[in-house]
Symmetry: D2
Subunit: 328 residues, 4 copies
Amino acid sequence: MYNIALFGAGRIGQVHAVNIADHKETQLYSVIDPFSQGTAALAEKYGAKQQSTEEALADPNVHGVLIASATDTHAELIELAAKAGKAIFCEKPVHLDIERVRSCLAIVEQYQVPLFVGFNRRYDPQFRKVREMLSAGSIGKAESLLITSRDPSPPPAEYVKVSGGMFRDMTIHDFDMARFIMGEDPVSIYAQGSNLVDPAIGQAGDIDTAFIVMKFPSGAMATITNSRRSGYGYDQRIELHGEKGLLTAKNIHENAVEQWGEAGCVAAKPEHFFLQRYDAAYKAEWTHFVDVLAGRAQPECSGYDGELALLMADKALESLKTGKEVKL
Amino acid sequence: MYNIALFGAGRIGQVHAVNIADHKETQLYSVIDPFSQGTAALAEKYGAKQQSTEEALADPNVHGVLIASATDTHAELIELAAKAGKAIFCEKPVHLDIERVRSCLAIVEQYQVPLFVGFNRRYDPQFRKVREMLSAGSIGKAESLLITSRDPSPPPAEYVKVSGGMFRDMTIHDFDMARFIMGEDPVSIYAQGSNLVDPAIGQAGDIDTAFIVMKFPSGAMATITNSRRSGYGYDQRIELHGEKGLLTAKNIHENAVEQWGEAGCVAAKPEHFFLQRYDAAYKAEWTHFVDVLAGRAQPECSGYDGELALLMADKALESLKTGKEVKL
Amino acid sequence: MYNIALFGAGRIGQVHAVNIADHKETQLYSVIDPFSQGTAALAEKYGAKQQSTEEALADPNVHGVLIASATDTHAELIELAAKAGKAIFCEKPVHLDIERVRSCLAIVEQYQVPLFVGFNRRYDPQFRKVREMLSAGSIGKAESLLITSRDPSPPPAEYVKVSGGMFRDMTIHDFDMARFIMGEDPVSIYAQGSNLVDPAIGQAGDIDTAFIVMKFPSGAMATITNSRRSGYGYDQRIELHGEKGLLTAKNIHENAVEQWGEAGCVAAKPEHFFLQRYDAAYKAEWTHFVDVLAGRAQPECSGYDGELALLMADKALESLKTGKEVKL
Amino acid sequence: MYNIALFGAGRIGQVHAVNIADHKETQLYSVIDPFSQGTAALAEKYGAKQQSTEEALADPNVHGVLIASATDTHAELIELAAKAGKAIFCEKPVHLDIERVRSCLAIVEQYQVPLFVGFNRRYDPQFRKVREMLSAGSIGKAESLLITSRDPSPPPAEYVKVSGGMFRDMTIHDFDMARFIMGEDPVSIYAQGSNLVDPAIGQAGDIDTAFIVMKFPSGAMATITNSRRSGYGYDQRIELHGEKGLLTAKNIHENAVEQWGEAGCVAAKPEHFFLQRYDAAYKAEWTHFVDVLAGRAQPECSGYDGELALLMADKALESLKTGKEVKL
């Protein structure tokens, strides 16, 4: 049984707490979050301790840490945990500044601890099945990938200001998905964007609607379409065209009930947002991390993957500003 | 080029007129309908004559007749046309009284003219594909058939009174469909029904909602569900379960546009009614009849098929009244 | 925290064990199953005791019992638990013999303990939503209900022999569903059946394919179609037609990935069987039972519901044998 | 009754001949095609004359011309017909060279004859419904448009060489669709492409797979994804995202039959190619042109629309070569 110290008792920390407790090889050992009012309650629910960062990292009973705290604390916590010799599961991103990411990863490299970066969508059963069916040759060679990623409604402008911008905050998941599905890194990126959803986002210097085109060494291409607001729930789909046909992962809907009447045939919307849609993905990524803890696997989603997704976001931003495709 | 005399210039007569004119081997030669105000216009549109019944049947230029007049004229027109040696396409039913059907068919037999009874749904591309896939072995042996047949809205009570009742008027198509798909005749029929849609239908002595169960010599079974009103267009579906799986013919919808929003995912209703839904079927049955005219085929849908579908309706009515399954 | 004694450590007992443990108000207190080799492992996993029937029922710490043992032990265990004053959750059926059911329920009545009978499908989110939308008036008055219930593959003939027959073993769920959706009890039942799937089932005196028609006091009707083998997974659907349209609960599929190619558009099969399909229903019925334990609710699914579903199965069997609809 | 002279007796000419003959206000008066072996047969089928270009344009009985001949003859025939005062329906494109298009349109302007350019997809009922629902406010303001357009299989390299390249030959339809749906002209275009389908296409100097991104004055954006080969029929879809949700026009499939079995749920592929898919669109555009002939309408799809779609193709090609978005 592996003991896990959880950094961050917020919404995403609570999701991980359930999965840590439910897994037969892990238990929630301690919760570290001096800023949250829910820390004590969360710890109590699972019979866990409350610790300080220093206590947790110095505690020899802690086998692994899960970092689900505020984004700007990730890099430092990774470095401290690496120095303490703990296995690390960190929510994306490592940091919003790529140089800081690189210096952090250098520390991880130096201390030789496993680091898993939580690009949870790689563990969505739908997207994973597309990847597996591609690998199994079901559509031949991949040629065109279309990623649709739309949030149900826009975040507050206050969040946008500290988010690093849409590409680093939201599209970064899609950049990673493109690499995951295609199995190669892009050679060029073009981005176009607009502020259409909420003027406050534009005033914060960001966009809320984007189209991105990438080209890969094989000649294959991918596009990402993003919006901060769909109007119909969380829209998370991919289409992968290959030599012999198409693999498409459709949305998961709220239910399977249809109403047919004068107004037509009405089905339910897609699941509302990531907590619902990616519930299975959060469980599956934790299962993978337990394999890493147990030495049965290497992190499938590494610090390097985090770095590259951020680099793609940076290059997309450069393209948006210059109107040119940018080489990687 | 075969010359066709069309009896009946009403709605269904007009559907056939288009198909007669569009087929490269037939032309509309004459229209016979003393009761319709549209007879002259229909004849003029296609450069056809207006004739009386006597003129048409005595005219050696007429190769075939299409009987689309009022139901109670079918049997007599069939007999007259048979005696005149014309090939006959008759809209269902031959007659609402089975003894009258039998005497009529005896005349047809005596004069050896081809008679096609227009169970148009056999020519619907969806249902025909199910039949073909069954024959090709795609689901093994047929076991359970479910026929859904619901009209968009109920007919006027005046119509109901002269219709012969729901089973002879509406379900008769589904009885024929059951025989067409299963390739065998039922050995028993059970029917249950209610007057739920329009009290005037009940006052006219009829039902408007029905469930029918049939058993076949192979042990396979079929059910028909009917309603005079769906609330969402014309509902025409079948499900055929076999040893290895299911074949299902779904509705044809008004269009392929979906709207996703707060209210869910809204798609179009099924096609409104038979003129829209069975447009391709009307064309295809005429193509078959031209093959009959040209001696390239025997009528796939014969007077006997008309007789048997009516017999099934009569037996269903007996079951409805007695609460017992009735043997055939 | 309520302590639960679980009778039966088999497949379905294990499903309940997880839900008992996951619910924040209940814990698995003891497991009683002298015949299973997995009893010790199950108890250990959740930190529960192993007890005998006598020990569990005499233990004042036990607040409720969950009976998931062999069918022929249900009635006796219910009686013993009732006499011990425990709240009871019992898997369906109470017993295969209706007189035995009635005598058992009389004991429950005498000792005034809450009894919940586990017709889990009432807690399936899809079916429940149909019921809720009907209640909310979305399609007006209910008129026709179609229940499709097909197992992926037939049980062994050995099981069939002790199952009480298809109607008491399998269709009983659909009988309960018909009452749950329609909100009224049928006045007549007709059943037709065949042995098509496996000759060994016929040799065991049972059928494996059935069509059932019921009529309700309102004039509404329902049909159930059953097969012991679908060929494509677990087929669990309902269609409810009303004055203003249709509510339909479709299958839940294994995933949301489609492959489009020369062979057409291929989507995943329905979930394999009840453990997958009704996972959410098992959780939800437990949540309801905890409300019963806590005095916040009366059992929505009572002994009387169990009795009536069995009565409907008995009447269907009578109809199958006599070829007549049977009055209730 | 308007007499129509048809230039070109090939595949697309034959499609138009049927629609000319079926429309109640037009008849096929003459066919002009000295190069086709099918000219005489086509003329005979509809009781039409064979004429030379000179004869047809000098014939005062000819009210309109339909130009469906080889692409490189369009501009000259338009000019001749304009000078002869005939109303003109011309298949796209006017010409592959934009300067030649402009000089041709100047002649049309000078002689004041109506010219309709056959961007048939504007008349597809699906796409038209999206346009109408947008206009009706069903999703608020348009924000993102995704056009998917994939041919079932690539053309021969010989065709590619004279086609003007993928953008002018295939994508031109999608450029026009973007303008039709959005109701505004793009301000910038970016294109990325590859030769993935057939090396012979690359050797002919062309691409066969493309992604295009456009931005509009309102800030809305559109993307087009093209491939010369889908592997699953003709893929013709659009998604239009707006403030309040999504309108999506899905493919039309070969039939509505599904097979459920061990391999999953198999539905039919999309209609094979444009003759099947756009059958209704060809009919509807002819109906519009008859309105133009009758003075009831102005051409909805003008020479200017043809010019602008070609300009977009030229700009896309420039972007493909330079790696920059190009301003319009």
